[in-house]
Amino acid sequence: MALPATLNVHVQEPLKAKDYRSDITPTWCPGCGDFGVVGALAKAYAEQKYNPSAVTTVSGIGCSSRLPLWMNSFGIHSCHGRAVPVAIGAHLARPEMPVVVTIGDGDCFSIGGGHIGPPARRNMDMTVMVMDNGTFALTKNQNSPTSRPGLPGTLASGMGNLDEPMNPIELMITLGATFVAQSYSANAKHMGMIMNKALAHKGFSFVNILSPCPTYNKMDTFQYFRPRIHDINDEGEHTQLTDRGAALAKAAELYDHHQNAEAHVPVGVYYEVDKPIYTEKVQKVREYYKVTDTPDWSEIFDRFKP
């Protein structure tokens, strides 16, 4: 059986969200924030009318990285920190196929830290969604790059996390992502809106989703977030979505709530610009060299004649 030359990326008749879920029972703890994420993602796939046989969900290792196993799509549950380059390979082999990376904060920013820059800088047309619970949960509670100061962790000091968290929004804007947003796993409507924007965005989309771990992170809980969550795109607060400087300035406020009990926990779109995507640039090179997929072997071997 030969593979089709192009994929039918979309279905004619929309499917339901549950059609994008596999039969495999999730192994997440009851109350895990990631349940909200997989529910919203399945709904977003339905709303995007993706063909389950023509979309690939890629993950690394961690609680949140189990997500592709619960989805009825193509999935790659790869190695810790390596989801993004695996996704790049799938994307370059099938540029018309939507590729979505679903990983955790540790997978993305700790071990995966070296890999997120290149596709962002190259503006590859794919989406990375991080389920940010501020901890390494599957290994039973170690601090991650987004852990707040003082958060207990088994490898942390006796007084908890000594570090300031890294700022995913600032980082991804700086690395060159062309769509950068934050959402919250208890707000299905907001996630749906953000996910649809991210999936539809032509270019590298990054969404950080606050997704509490009820088992290990007793500080960044649903109870903590609920009164503080605030949409920065509401009421004209952050409207200059194409202004990198404005986006970075807004992003700098991300963790104000750690010091200031009155400060918000921001969600919303920080940055959204249109730039040429990587595969478009590659296509121009192919046109210049008149690249063909029907080799003229005679001409090829002639190049190596004495």
């Binding site: 593979l3 089709p4 193509f74 390596r82 695996v86 082999a93 290149p118 997929d293």
Partner: protein, 591 residues
Amino acid sequence: MAIDLTIKVAGEGGEGVISSGDFIMQAATRAGMEVVTFKSFPAEIKGGYALSQVRISDQPIPSQGDGFDILVAFNGEAYEVNKPLLTPGTIMVWDGPHGGDFEPEEHDGVQAFAVPMSDIAKNQLKNYIAKNMVAMGAVVELFGLPEDSLKSSIHDKFITKGQEVVDFNYQAIELGRQWIRENYPDRKVAHAFPASKAQKDVVILEGNQAIAVGAVMAGCRFYGAYPITPATSVGNHLVDLMHHVGGTVYQSEDEISALATVIGASFTGMKSMTCTAGPGISLMQELIGLAIMSEVPVVIGDIQRGGPSTGMPTKHDQGDLFATCLGTHGDAPRIVLACADVEDCVYLTIDAFNLAEQYQSPVMLLSDASLSIQTEPIPRPDISKVKLTERQFAEPQTGENHFERYKITDSGVSPMGAPGIPGTNYAATGLEHAEDSGPRTNVETRNAMTEKRWRKFDGIEDAYKPIEREGEDGDDLGIISWGMTQSVTREAVARLRAGGHKVSALYPKMLWPMPKKQIEAFARSVKRVVVPEANFQGQLADLIKMRTDVVPIKFNVYRGEPLIPREIESMALELLQQSAGAKPMARMAIH
């Protein structure tokens, strides 16, 4: 009388040593000769000792041989390193009598021609860069290297820089010729370039270029890689080749990412490859395990170099056999092939892709630093004779049940879904899994899936082509060799057998899974088995001991150079003379 002429050019990196060798190689090929080259670079961009050796014959040549007939020494270091090889009957062309940095001794029976290449370049041509062309002019005049071929090569190489550059080089050649005519008018040289014959239908490729050609012939359409000496040039060659076949070359941010992109591309159904060297193989071990566990076909080239760690990036070594056969944690089966020459680099690459597809597995393809740059004419490939294997894609699924990617089958190979085949979506996973990819740790599933992954490779020894064997049942000594050492062994065995010695040889291309039956049968058919290899531990010998009932004698060199025929010959002669149990002593340094 068979022609067998070896010309060696040696000097400082950056002085045109390598390109001089290439021009000689091109001339010999156009003259209808068989050619094998051997080159060695230092790791740095400029400076250090570089050499390019061209062996020319009218008969097929298995290896680069034992030494040289003609040495062109650009500097004192080249002279010092090669002094032991200036034996009676050899000729030296050297940078002198003035303007160079050395003064050679008298050598018995060695003709020495002084050509002030540095001086002529600097003071007459006003550009030191012309040095190697002055030397080439001398070679034309002394030995009859065809000037029209040399000029044609120069034209092809430099015309993009302008006709003046081409003419400048021609001028340098003429000054070299003139020097010889004026200073050695009555010369009689012991060696001469052979007369031209009809040119054969050949293509000239260097080892890494041949891997690139083999890959596109095999249907590879994705190459993801990170630069590393001596593997980088596989990708360089593929940039152009992929334009002709519509494939993709992607430079990733490190070796781990490179293999990750290859796995992702192959997941979609596209034949995909990366090439690296020892340090990259070490980095890739985790993802090799992922490809094995999730059953994704990938081809991983390992162009071996001196290890461990950073080691000697440009030097020959066969030290990665353990890492490629046994690397990655857990019980992880895979296939390992090793190339002996440039033709293997083409056709074993095609085998690698076919095996990867058939067994839905990583295949490691081994070459080495010397072979990567060895340039040879090989018969022009005939694409119509190449048979390709495609992976067993799943049929479109229409039922209610989700597709079971890891279905237990008798053969162990399960049909593979791919984006675009309706209903075959599944999650590839590195976790132990049930047939439907669900994570599992229960005893029954674990046992069944482990056995499935290993069962895939049952019978691979019989399915792959039989190992070539030379010699006869009952021979006194059997030599098993792999990689480039095979080429050297062939030449030694030819000499030994011509001398009446009863020596057999076995030339395996697939080293893993260990071809146990053929190795045991070979060992039974000879009195003793020896495994010469360019590593310290005797890695193939150890793997043979581990997986068969054969205990080979080890013969190891680890000096950063390939073995040469003469030392394998001496090794064999010592073993033939000794009683059982004694170890052979002969080892040589050559360069």
